[in-house]
Amino acid sequence: MRHTDRQSDSSLSPALASDPRFTAVERTLKQYQYRPDALIEVLHVAQEAFGYLSDELMDHVARQLKVPLSRVYGVATFYHFFSLEPQGEHSCVVCTGTACYVKRSGEIVKRLEGEFGVKAGNTTADGKLTLSTVRCLGSCGLAPVVVLDGEIAGRNTPDSAAAAAHHLVAEGKPEKKPVAERPRRRGRRGGTP
């Protein structure tokens, strides 16, 4: 119906409107037929695409879903998942759920805060690393757990976590687990590994 002209009535900046990341947001809006109750799903997609929710983005979503900006803002600030600040290039998340806590994940947080000179929840001055905490990732069997750019690593110590975070910042990606070497060929026919 009227949905086609929605974009034109928004005061979207040309920079955002032509941003390729923006299509994912538009697609989700359409998928949910601009229903107000899709707000959280839309914000999820927007955050995933842009890394954080800018004022302009929230304003746009509010207009498209025809809900007041205060409600978008209210939802975005209520849930821990959403961030209104740009995130660092890399992320390091320490689990502070109960299982990780009794295995001393608090010491890991302190150590990382010291090493990178940043309080948990913030980004380093050079924008390289965002350090944050989370309550239970559901990998409690491996406590204490640290997540580097989305890769879960279990059974950490303050040392191992600091080393891994430094590696992440220096190399630009999380340390890879030992990769499978090509199977050596055994036996004359070389058929079985």
Binding site: R35, P36, D37, A38, L39, I40, E41, L43, H44, R71, G74, V75, F78, Y79, H80, F81, F82, T96, G97, T98, A99, Y101, V102, K103, V134, R135, C136, L137, G138, S139, C140, G141, L142, A143, V145, E151, I152, A153, G154, K177, P178, V179, A180, E181, R182, P183, R184, R186, G191, T192, P193
Partner: protein
């Protein structure tokens, strides 16, 4: 698809599986994946392909096998026998494959003993398929008897029959409170309303618990089948499954499962050739503990801030968009196919008279083998910790088990023989909760643990009502004074008064139960509190007792008023 198609599909898949000489299963649950299971799987696939063994040996990625702290796990099933290998690397994976091919035992890889209590002592109902089917192939679930209960119910039972069966089974909600599931279903069934909804609560906000995550990841169809049975029983055509935001893998597997079930006619319109229509949609949580509370969860599904509202009216009367809504926990739904499929009597025979069936626990903390277990209700804590979990590592002493998360409490060593069921746990001042069991040894400090939970509740309070919003801040501040050695005995009195106040006057379960960790640690470990206050000593060596004497009462009141509560040391 009609019932005979379902049976044919099961038959065909079983034949396919029997065609292999051997199936090698690799655990692809989140803990094992992060320990390197993906590399192990890749190695096996390569090895099988290069050896031209595709027709003989199948590699399968499954859900959680249980002993997650020993991952990556590999299970070899051939000629009816099963061997489980722990801590597999790509090197040992190759050795396992080699041994399968040559029929000889691998030299250096360590299999878990077949009678290892961690595996042998369990009774798996909800986790029956977990670790032996590929959660991404609907055929494997069907071959294991999946969707048969739904088919049976749709064609041979009335919705009333289904409600009655669930009532008779004695199944109680696994999400925390233990409300009789059958009663809830009957209420939702009787509630007048054109549209009704079924909601699966997969928010799992309790820190230190991951049963629901594992069920959704390992056997997603079981949850869907349980929801469909509920939909049929109460007369709903739409279901939502609310998955915690952090649980990407669970969300992805559920999405795939819903698509597959729809394609095969096991969800959607005219399910299994009947007149029953049922759709399921996923909603993703966004990181707010309070959204596990049912009214708040519904607010969140409707795209709002997740703030609870006052009950009654209960969701079963007035829920999503004002319509009757049935909310159950993921594990509760996952138990339903077994209840309907194998009968109420069979289910009721497991467990204790008032707590029927089995319960899944996430056993973690200071315990030798951490992981996921399922045991009959009424199994004692001692059996769980010492036999199944293998005891406390490095020769330390058991101090307490924390159950029920922030709403629960601690069980001390003197109650190790308490049966784990709803009544017994309540009697000793904790709750079953959703099933997180965190084992603590002598290196844990109880006032510190209480402070940890109050910090959690303070942080997660939605702020709607004052007792919880202000009370948890104040309680946490008092606990911080205790753990930093700056408290007086008056503070302890104040803390106990606040427990009473916050517990009785809060609007929702979060505030009502927030005092529990304090009350239960005070009940069994009061001397530790007194030690911190009188002797300024932390026996466990966890707390940093302040060097400086306590700040004057005035200075602190000022700091507090300036909005930095909790930061005062």
């Amino acid at each position: 698809m009609i019932p005979s198609d379902l049976r044919a599909m099961a038959e065909q898949e079983r034949e396919r599986q029997e065609g292999f000489r051997c199936r090698i299963m690799v655990c692809a649950g989140t803990p094992c994946l992060s320990a390197g299971a993906d590399v192990v799987l890749e190695t096996l696939r390569q090895g099988i392909a290069e050896g031209g063994l595709d027709a003989e040996i199948e590699s399968v990625a499954t859900g959680c096998m249980g002993p997650c702290s020993r991952g990556p796990l590999v299970k070899v099933r051939s000629r009816g026998k099963e061997i489980v290998y722990e801590r597999v690397t790509s090197e040992s994976a190759r050795q396992i494959l080699f041994s399968v091919v040559k029929g000889r035992r691998p030299p250096t890889v360590s299999p878990l003993p077949p009678d290892l209590p961690f595996l042998a002592r369990q009774e798996r109902v909800v986790l029956a398929n977990s670790g032996s089917v590929n959660p991404e192939r609907i055929e494997e679930y069907v071959a294991a008897g999946g969707y048969e209960a739904l088919s049976h119910a749709l064609h041979e039972m009335t919705p009333d029959d289904v409600c009655r069966e669930v009532s008779l089974s004695g199944l109680r909600g696994r999400g925390g409170a233990g409300y009789p599931t059958g009663v809830k279903w009957s209420l939702a069934r009787k509630a007048p309303g054109e549209r009704k909804y079924v909601v699966a609560n997969g928010d799992e906000g309790d820190p230190g618990a991951y049963m629901d995550r594992s069920i959704m990841e390992s056997d997603p169809h079981r949850v869907l089948e349980g929801m469909a049975l509920a939909g049929y029983a109460i007369g709903a055509e739409q279901g939502f499954i609310y998955v915690r935001g952090e649980y990407h893998l669970a969300g992805r597997r559920l999405e795939g499962a819903i698509r597959d079930a729809e394609r095969k006619g096991l969800l959607g319109s005219r399910v299994l050739g009947s007149n029953f229509n049922f759709r399921i949609d996923i909603r993703t949580g966004a990181g707010a503990f309070v959204c596990g509370e049912e009214t708040s969860l519904m607010a969140s599904i409707m795209g709002k801030r997740g703030q609870p509202w006052h009950r009654p009216p209960y969701p079963a009367q007035k829920g999503l968009w004002g319509n009757p809504t049935l909310i159950n926990n993921v594990e509760t739904f996952a138990a339903v196919p077994a209840v309907v499929g194998r009968g109420a009597e069979w289910f009721a025979a497991i467990g204790t008279p008032k707590s029927r069936g089995t319960k899944v626990y996430a056993l973690c903390g200071q315990v030798e083998i951490a992981g996921l277990i399922e045991v009959p209700m009424g199994t004692t804590l001692r059996e769980v910790v010492y036999e199944i979990g293998g005891g406390i590592p490095s020769g330390k002493r058991f101090k307490a088990a924390q159950s029920g998360g922030p709403s629960g409490g601690c069980i001390p060593a003197s109650y190790l023989d308490t049966p784990l069921d709803y009544e017994s746990m309540e009697r000793i001042g904790t709750i079953m909760g959703s099933g997180g069991l965190i084992i603590m040894d002598e290196t844990s400090c109880m006032p510190d643990v209480a402070s940890f939970f109050l910090d959690f509740c303070r942080d997660e309070s939605c702020g709607k009502c004052a007792p919880c919003r202000v009370g948890t801040v104040e309680m946490h501040r008092l606990l911080r004074r205790i753990t930093s050695g700056t408290a007086t005995m008056d503070d302890l009195v104040k803390l106990e008064e606040l427990c009473e106040l916050v517990g009785t006057t809060s609007l929702c379960g979060l505030g009502m139960t927030a005092p529990n960790p304090v009350l239960s640690t005070l009940r069994y470990f009061r001397d530790e509190y007194v030690d911190h206050i009188r002797q300024r000593r932390c026996t466990a060596g966890v707390c940093t007792i302040a060097e400086n004497p306590a700040p004057g009462a005035e200075g602190e009141a000022l700091l507090h008023a300036m909005g930095v509560p909790g930061e005062v040391e």
